[in-house]
C-alpha cells in the first residue's frame, strides 16, 4: 500500500481516541461492595435464625418433657454449663488445641504430599493410568477404616493419628489438583505456548495458576476429610497418654454415661470444623474465585 494519507491521521487519531474512551466507559460495569446491612440480612441472619430454631425445639423437647430422660437428651442449658465448667477449669482450650494442632499439622503434611502427587497424576499419563483410579477410589473409603491397621503398624501414638489424617486427606487434595488441571482451558495452554511458556515454565506460569480453583476446592475437601479422620482416630484410639482431644472427650463422655459431655464434644467438633473452614478455606476460595470474576454476586 503505497498511498497513505498522513495529513488526516492526526485528526482521525484524536477522534478515534475519544470514540474508544466513550465505548470503554459505556461498556464497563461499575461494581461496588454491598452495604453491610444487606449482607447481614441476606447472609448472616438466616443461619443464625436456623440455629436459634434448633435450640428452641431442643429446649422445648426437654421443657415440655416430651423427652424426659436427661441421660438421653440433656437440656441445652446443661450442655452450656458443661462447656462453661470446662472453660472455667481451663480445660476447654486444651481439648480444642490438642485436636486442632493435630488436624492442621496433619493437613499440612497431606498438602506437602498430595500436591506433587496430584501434579504427577495430572501430567504423567503412565502415572495417571496406574494410580488415578486408586486415588479416586480411596476418596470413597471411609478413613475410619485405616484406624485399626494404623494402630497395629504404629501403635497408640501421634504418628498413628497423622497417618490416618494423611490417608484421608491426601487423595482429596491430589484429586482436586487433578480435576483442576483437567479443566484448564486448552486456549490458555495454546496462548501460553505462543508466549513461550512450554515445559516447566508452562506448568508454573499457566497450568498451576489456571488449576487453582479446582485445587482450592480439593484443599477444602481435604480439610473436611482430615478433621473427620482425626475425630475417628481419637474416638477409637483414645489413650490417656495421648492427651485429651475432642474425640477423646466424646469417648470419655460415653464411658461416663454423661450425655451432656457427649453433646459438648459433638458441638465442639462441629463448631471447630466449621470455624476452620470459615476462617481459612472459604475466604481463600472466595478470593480465588472473585479475583477471576467467577463469583456471581447474587
Amino acid at each position: 500500500m503505497a498511498s497513505t494519507d498522513t495529513t488526516t491521521t492526526a485528526k482521525d487519531g484524536g477522534d478515534l481516541a475519544g470514540l474508544e474512551a466513550g465505548l470503554d466507559a459505556l461498556e464497563t460495569v461499575q461494581q461496588g461492595r454491598k452495604p453491610f446491612r444487606q449482607t447481614f440480612v441476606e447472609k448472616i441472619l438466616p443461619p443464625v435464625l436456623a440455629v436459634l430454631l434448633v435450640l428452641v425445639v431442643w429446649q422445648g423437647l426437654v421443657s415440655f418433657e416430651i423427652v424426659d430422660d436427661p441421660t438421653k437428651l440433656p437440656a441445652p442449658s446443661d450442655v452450656w454449663h458443661v462447656v462453661q465448667d470446662a472453660w472455667l477449669q481451663g480445660e476447654l482450650l486444651g481439648y480444642i488445641w490438642t485436636s486442632v494442632s493435630r488436624g492442621l499439622l496433619g493437613f499440612c503434611f497431606a498438602l506437602v504430599i498430595g500436591t506433587p502427587l496430584g501434579l504427577l497424576v495430572a501430567r504423567v499419563k503412565f502415572v495417571r493410568a496406574a494410580i488415578g483410579p486408586i486415588l479416586s477410589g480411596l476418596q470413597s473409603l471411609p478413613s475410619v477404616a485405616w484406624v485399626p491397621p494404623a494402630v497395629i503398624w504404629l501403635g497408640l501414638n501421634n504418628s498413628m493419628m497423622y497417618a490416618v489424617i494423611l490417608l484421608g486427606a491426601v487423595p482429596s487434595i491430589a484429586n482436586g489438583l487433578v480435576s483442576g488441571v483437567d479443566q484448564v482451558s486448552p486456549l490458555f495452554l495454546r496462548a501460553g505456548r505462543t508466549l513461550g511458556a512450554t515445559g516447566l515454565k508452562g506448568t508454573w506460569h499457566i497450568v498451576l495458576p489456571a488449576a487453582l480453583p479446582g485445587y482450592v476446592a480439593g484443599l477444602k475437601q481435604g480439610w473436611a476429610f482430615s478433621w473427620r479422620s482425626l475425630m475417628a482416630a481419637e474416638i477409637i484410639a483414645s489413650f490417656p497418654d495421648l492427651g485429651v482431644g475432642l474425640g477423646q472427650l466424646l469417648e470419655n463422655g460415653r464411658n461416663a454415661s454423661d450425655m451432656a459431655m457427649v453433646f459438648e464434644a459433638i458441638l465442639l467438633i462441629l463448631v471447630v470444623g466449621i470455624a476452620i473452614d470459615l476462617l481459612i478455606f472459604s475466604p481463600l476460595e472466595r478470593w480465588v474465585l472473585r479475583s477471576r470474576g467467577l463469583l456471581v454476586r447474587s
Binding site: M1, L16, A17, D24, E27, T194, L195, H205, P209, A210
Partner: protein, 262 residues
C-alpha cells in the same frame, strides 16, 4: 517438513519476508482415513505487509495459522518465519488470574525482559492500545473490546515481527469491531509489523489488508489474490471497499457453490 525459525540478524540485515509458506499441506486422521485440510499452499508475507486470509468454513485458515505459529507441524512443505510469531485468538485468551498489566508482563518475562523494565514497558504498551490506567484491572472488569486491546498489547509485547490474528474481532459487536479496525490499522502503521489476519468477513478483509488471499474449502488451496489499493484511513462504508467486497464475495460464493454440486 521442518519449521525453521530464521532469526532476524539484529537490524544489520533485514529479512526478505516475515513469513514464507512453501508447498504446505496438512492432513488429519479422520473417520474416513487421512483427510486433506490444506493442499499445497504457497504464500509469502513481506516485512511490514498486511495480508488477510479469507475463506468459508473448512478452508483450513485457522489450521494454516496454527502451522505458522508453530503450534502444529505441516504434513509436507516448509514454513519459515522471521522469529517466533505472536498470535491473537478470537477469544481474548487473557489469563484471568492476572491483571491486564501482569498479562503483558508475563509475555515480557517469558521473552527475557529484565524485571525492572517490565512495568514501564507494560504501561507503554497499554498506552499504545489506549488503555492507560487499565494496568491493575482484572480481565473480567474489562469490556470485550478492551480485552481484545489488552490481548493485542500482550501480543505486541512479544516484539515479534509477525502478528498472526485468528478472527480476533469476530465476537465483538459491530461498533466496537469498527473502532478496533481503525485501532489495528493505526498500530500496524506505527509499528511497521507484518500481519497475517484470518477472517470470513469480506468487508473486514478489504478494509484492513493490502492483500486479500482467498482460500478454497476442503481442501484449502489458494484460489485467488487481490491487491487492495485503497488509501488509508478506510471506512467500512467506503465505495471502493464495497466494490471490491462485492467482487470478492462473488468469487467466494462461487467457491462455496462448488461444494453443493455433488
Amino acid at each position: 517438513m521442518a519449521t525453521t525459525l530464521a532469526k532476524a540478524a539484529d537490524g544489520t540485515e533485514a529479512a526478505t519476508h516475515a513469513a514464507r509458506i512453501e508447498h504446505v499441506s496438512k492432513s488429519f486422521a479422520g473417520p474416513a482415513g487421512q483427510q486433506l485440510v490444506l493442499d499445497d499452499i504457497t504464500l509469502d508475507v513481506a516485512p511490514g505487509e498486511f495480508v488477510t486470509l479469507l475463506g468459508a468454513s473448512g478452508c483450513g485458515k485457522s489450521t494454516l495459522l496454527n502451522l505458522v505459529a508453530g503450534l502444529d507441524r505441516p504434513s509436507a512443505g516448509t514454513i519459515t518465519t522471521d522469529g517466533r510469531p505472536a498470535l491473537m485468538f478470537q477469544e481474548h485468551a487473557l489469563f484471568p488470574w492476572l491483571t491486564a498489566g501482569k498479562n503483558i508482563e508475563l509475555a515480557l518475562k517469558l521473552r527475557g525482559v529484565a524485571k525492572s523494565e517490565r512495568r514501564d514497558k507494560a504501561e507503554e504498551l497499554l498506552e499504545l492500545v489506549r488503555l492507560k490506567g487499565a494496568y491493575g484491572k482484572r480481565v473480567h472488569e474489562l469490556s470485550g473490546g478492551m480485552r481484545q486491546r489488552v490481548a493485542m498489547a500482550r501480543a505486541l509485547a512479544q516484539e515479534s515481527r509477525l502478528l498472526l490474528m485468528d478472527e480476533p474481532f469476530a465476537a465483538l459487536d459491530a461498533i466496537t469491531r469498527d473502532v478496533l479496525h481503525d485501532e489495528l490499522t493505526r498500530i500496524w502503521r506505527e509499528t511497521k509489523l507484518s500481519v497475517l489476519f484470518v477472517t470470513h468477513n469480506v468487508r473486514e478483509a478489504v478494509r484492513l489488508a493490502q492483500r486479500v488471499v482467498l482460500l478454497s474449502s476442503r481442501p484449502g488451496r489458494v484460489a485467488r489474490e487481490w491487491t487492495v489499493d485503497i488509501a488509508h484511513p478506510r471506512r467500512i462504508e467506503d465505495t471502493a471497499v464495497a466494490e471490491l467486497s462485492v467482487e470478492i464475495t462473488e468469487e467466494l460464493r462461487g467457491e462455496i457453490r462448488r461444494h453443493g454440486q455433488h
